[in-house]
């Protein structure tokens, strides 16, 4: 059962020689053999992983196997971003995140399925088939980092890497009952990650526990001379702060009065979490929703969907321009319907005569959200909300619904367009369906240690993390 080890315990056991790399990898590879054909998690696997692992015992990550979303460029495995346009593409260079992970002793065991170009929230836009939710195979794992979240939930890796533009780490983590951490925009380098929406793309870890994501964040974070949007900042030191508790913290509950969330299990669980935080000395209050920027209130997320949709499509139309059929061998007519839709919409929103109405307007409203959060974080240390409105959707639910992702991610988009960090932790498991709900904990820019403290305390004090039992 070594495949069920958390990252922190696997590192400890390997270092103490309680287990060997061979035992760990054999166990995980057996698990992959059993589960992967059915769940369609991995797009490629490194058969040499074990050989690399043994040499890394003295490194911080001790040679543990890590699954990587297929939009991180890797030299030794193909990188497709789940699109036929990049089928068999072998990168000439390594992404900063995978480079740092490997230097610190991580081993890339395989590349995971995702929505093609990260366009989607279910992995259903992948050109290489949909991934199934390991908790219940009739359901979607979420997306776009669905393969990575599923890999963690199915124990076919020890930890995983995902990337989030608006919800793509936290939403699949929530649906798969695992922990997903989206860092502050600019904390983790985007160099070598196939770009989706450059102004919000944030690579981040998906793990079994809060601690696991904290360990990984510390290995990958920090200024990168290849990414001009990563400023020189103090390290997050999340692992160090993690166990400090929430005493004295000011915690705000957000969106609990939304029509789609009222009287729902997920809202009930957020209030229950509030009680736990109160019991441990935090000051918990409800943050009312408002139509305009008002002190002490949170701007309703409805505008954020529009803002995010316009900005993201605009950037997508630009970022995909390089796949022009000249250099990557595959004609651009092979782009899937979702990519085509986004390119068309984004081209429109940037066009002369329309940019003012759409792109520029969206950027203006984005400023309002930034202003709103700047004010809110004067009064609160962390904000909590449901990660998604409900449980995982059926496979096929997103078909023919181009706004599917935006609706699923509606609670995450205001913070994503603002570049804020957030973490999703399991907050409920439905016994009948075995499906999970997630709680989203957000802190101010560059203050990941605060959300980690709340997340860790909640995980310790609640019953929903299966690996902590």
């Amino acid at each position: 059962m070594l495949h069920k080890l958390t990252l922190s315990s696997a590192i400890k056991k390997l270092k103490k020689k309680e287990i060997s790399h061979t035992e760990l990898y054999t166990d995980i590879e057996t698990q992959i053999g059993k589960i992967n054909p059915e769940l369609n998690i991995y797009l490629s696997l490194d058969k040499q992983a074990i050989k690399k692992a043994e040499k890394l015992i003295d490194k911080p990550l001790a040679g543990v196997p890590i699954a990587i979303k297929d939009n991180f460029l890797t030299r030794e495995l193909p990188t497709t971003a789940s699109s036929i346009v990049l089928k068999d593409f072998m990168s000439a260079y390594e992404s900063t995140v995978t480079d740092r992970l490997q230097k610190e002793g991580g081993v890339i065991i395989g590349k995971t399925n995702m929505d093609a170009w990260a366009h989607g929230s279910s992995t259903e836009t992948s050109d290489f088939g949909t991934t199934k939710n390991p908790r219940n195979q009739d359901y979607s794992p979420g997306g776009s980092s669905g393969g990575s979240a599923a890999a963690v939930a199915a124990n076919v890796c020890i930890s995983a890497m995902g990337s989030e533009t608006a919800g793509s780490i936290r939403q699949p983590a929530s649906w798969c009952g695992v922990v997903g951490l989206k860092p502050t925009y600019g904390r983790v380098s985007r160099y070598g990650v196939v770009a989706m929406a450059s102004s919000t793309d944030s690579p981040g870890p998906i793990g079994k526990t809060v601690e696991d994501t904290a360990i990984l964040l510390e290995q990958i974070e920090g200024h990168d001379s290849f990414d001009a949007t990563t400023p020189e900042k103090e390290p997050s030191r999340v692992a160090e702060h993690m166990k400090k508790g929430v005493a004295g913290m000011r915690i705000g509950i957000c969106y609990s009065d939304h029509a789609n969330l009222k009287n729902k299990k997920v809202t009930e669980q957020i209030f229950a979490a509030g009680k736990i935080f109160e019991r441990h000395g935090a000051q918990v209050s409800i943050v009312p929703v408002s139509d305009t920027v008002e002190k002490g209130k949170i701007l309703k997320h409805d505008y954020a969907i529009g803002v995010y949709t316009v900005i993201q499509r605009s950037e997508v139309s630009s970022n995909l321009a390089r796949y022009d059929g000249i250099r990557y061998g595959v004609d651009r007519s092979n782009l899937g319907p979702e990519a085509k839709r986004r390119i068309m919409l984004g081209t429109f929103t940037l066009s002369k005569g329309y940019a003012d109405k759409y792109y520029i307007k969206a950027q203006q409203v984005r400023q309002l959200y930034l202003e709103n959060f700047r004010q809110l974080f004067q009064d609160f240390d962390v904000l909590i909300s449901p990660t998604t409105p409900s449980y995982a959707e059926y496979i096929g639910a997103g078909k023919d619904n181009p706004m599917f992702g935006e609706l699923e991610d509606m609670l995450l988009e205001p913070t994503s367009i603002s570049g804020l960090p957030g973490i999703s932790v399991p907050c409920y498991r439905d016994e009948k369906t075995n499906l999970y709900l997630g709680m989203n904990i957000v802190s101010a820019w560059w203050q990941e240690e605060k959300m980690i403290r709340a997340a860790y305390l909640y995980e310790t004090e609640s019953a929903w993390n299966e690996w902590r039992k």
């Binding site: 990168s91 000439a92 985007r190 070598g192 196939v194 990414d227 001009a228 630009s318 390089r322 940037l350």
Partner: protein, 458 residues
């Protein structure tokens, strides 16, 4: 001040016909930084031995690659802006300019749209100031090569040039003639060379010139409704010729009651004319938006001051100083200020000469020696030049009667030249000086000989 050599048509080629030529220019200059604009690849497309050797994921536009701006290139752009009297913007940004072309790796060029580094400068010329609308920084594209490989006609792409820092200078429509454009460009070129930010070599394409030309009735005060852009020009002379040609062509159309088409034309060297390349009736939509990969750039007053302190004395100032300080003539001062290195060389020679009180030469004599040098000044050190002047001086001291005799002899032998001179072809005078010097086996002072000749020729 109007140098004679420029003729009288500098102000406006077409004024006498009741038309005014209106020209604005776009000038692209490749900066000579060590590295490319957004990556650390070597910036040396002309020195590259093979295609695609100075490339990396960034300048090839590989998936996931990100641009990081070259600080030096930004500083040099600001430096140029300051030298052109521009206001430096405290807040600038890079934008993406989208269009499709195989030599453009990312499907967009990183350029600057509404927030360039520099605005509102000007270049003073004898025919009027040329306003500088803006100076901005962007990246160059790759280069297409049409070739036959294994019997098949193909187009190849060389990305050595892709991502080279490129400055674009846009002028106001202040230029009124081909000659005006030429003198403006010469001056701009000189400033760029003084700053040491580019080779500005037009043959190699490191300085590219695009005039936008239109013509209006001189009585009209508004800009014409059309403009014609001329491409493929690689010398100042060709810019002049293109403007002259377009002026005549467009006036011809206007006289017939037609409005010239808004279009891009190409310059044809062989015929000194332009031909239509593509119609530009609708402006292209480049879908500009701020590049999210590059944070906006803020320049503090202190930073701008620091950059300003690196600007050397510019040609105009240097020329005025040489006239005042060394008593040079306008023409001599202009000539030694042509290149910064030449001016520096001149000053070294002057101070060397001044240090040797016994054999001091006048700055005018030194300037003359430098201007009439046969080869490149780099071939000779200031010391060597002064030594040579001393030697020449010794040689020049010869019997004046010897000069007179040689002059008489030469004039009797060169009957044709004498007749030419008397018929007004005064340029033969220098030929005769040469002949006399030959007679004297290289000795004798040219000025003295010239004087003697004039006297005899009457």
């Amino acid at each position: 001040m109007k140098p004679k050599a420029l003729g009288t048509n500098g102000e406006n080629n077409s004024m006498e016909n009741g038309y005014t030529t209106i020209v604005g220019m776009e000038i692209h200059v490749e900066l000579a930084t060590n590295a490319k604009m957004f990556c650390s690849c070597k910036n040396d497309p002309f020195g590259a031995q093979k295609p695609n050797i100075y490339t990396c994921p960034v300048c090839l536009g590989m998936p996931g690659a990100l641009p990081v701006p070259n600080k030096k290139a930004i500083e040099w752009t600001v430096k140029l802006g300051l030298a052109l009297g521009c206001e430096i913007q405290p807040y600038s940004q890079f934008d993406r300019k989208h269009y499709f072309y195989p030599d453009l790796a990312k499907g967009y060029q990183i350029s600057q749209y509404d927030l360039p580094f520099c605005r509102n400068g000007k270049v003073t010329t004898p025919f009027g100031d040329v306003g500088i609308t803006r100076v901005h920084l962007e990246e160059d594209t790759g280069k297409l090569q049409h070739a036959t490989v294994d019997g098949e006609k193909v187009t190849l792409v060389d990305f050595n040039r892709c991502g080279v820092p490129l400055v674009e200078i846009v002028t106001e429509p202040d230029i009124r003639s081909g000659e005006h454009a030429k003198i403006f460009l010469k001056k701009l070129h000189q400033i760029i060379r003084y700053l040491g930010i580019s080779t500005a070599d037009m043959e190699k394409g490191s300085m590219r010139l695009e005039p936008n030309i239109s013509v209006r009735k001189s009585s009209d005060k508004v800009l014409p409704s059309y403009k014609v852009e001329v491409k493929n020009i690689n010398s100042f002379n060709f810019v002049k010729k293109a403007i002259d040609f377009e002026t005549t062509r467009q006036i011809g159309l206007l006289e017939k009651g037609e409005i010239p088409k808004q279009e891009t034309r190409g310059y044809v060297e062989a015929t000194s004319s332009t031909i239509s390349q593509r119609s530009k009736e609708e402006a292209a939509d480049y879908r500009y938006f701020p590049d999210p990969d590059i944070p906006p750039i803020r320049l503090t007053t202190k930073q701008i001051e620091e950059i300003a302190s690196t600007i050397p004395e510019l040609p105009d100032t240097k020329k005025e100083r040489f006239i005042k300080e060394y008593g040079l003539s306008e023409q001599a001062a202009l000539a030694v200020c042509e290149e910064k290195t030449l001016g520096d060389y001149f000053e070294s020679c002057v101070s060397l000469s001044q240090a040797d009180a016994k054999n001091e030469f006048s700055p005018t004599a030194i300037a003359k020696k430098i201007i009439n040098r046969p080869g490149e000044i780099t071939e000779e050190s200031p010391q060597e030049l002064i030594e040579q002047m001393k030697k020449n001086q010794l040689e020049k001291i010869i019997d004046p009667t010897l000069i007179q005799e040689s002059v008489i002899k030469t004039l009797s032998l060169q009957e044709k030249a004498v007749n030419d001179y008397k018929n007004g072809k005064t340029s033969v005078l220098m030929f005769l000086v040469g002949m006399v010097k030959r007679e004297l086996q290289g000795k004798g002072d040219a000025t003295v000989i010239e004087e003697e000749l004039r006297k005899r020729l009457g």
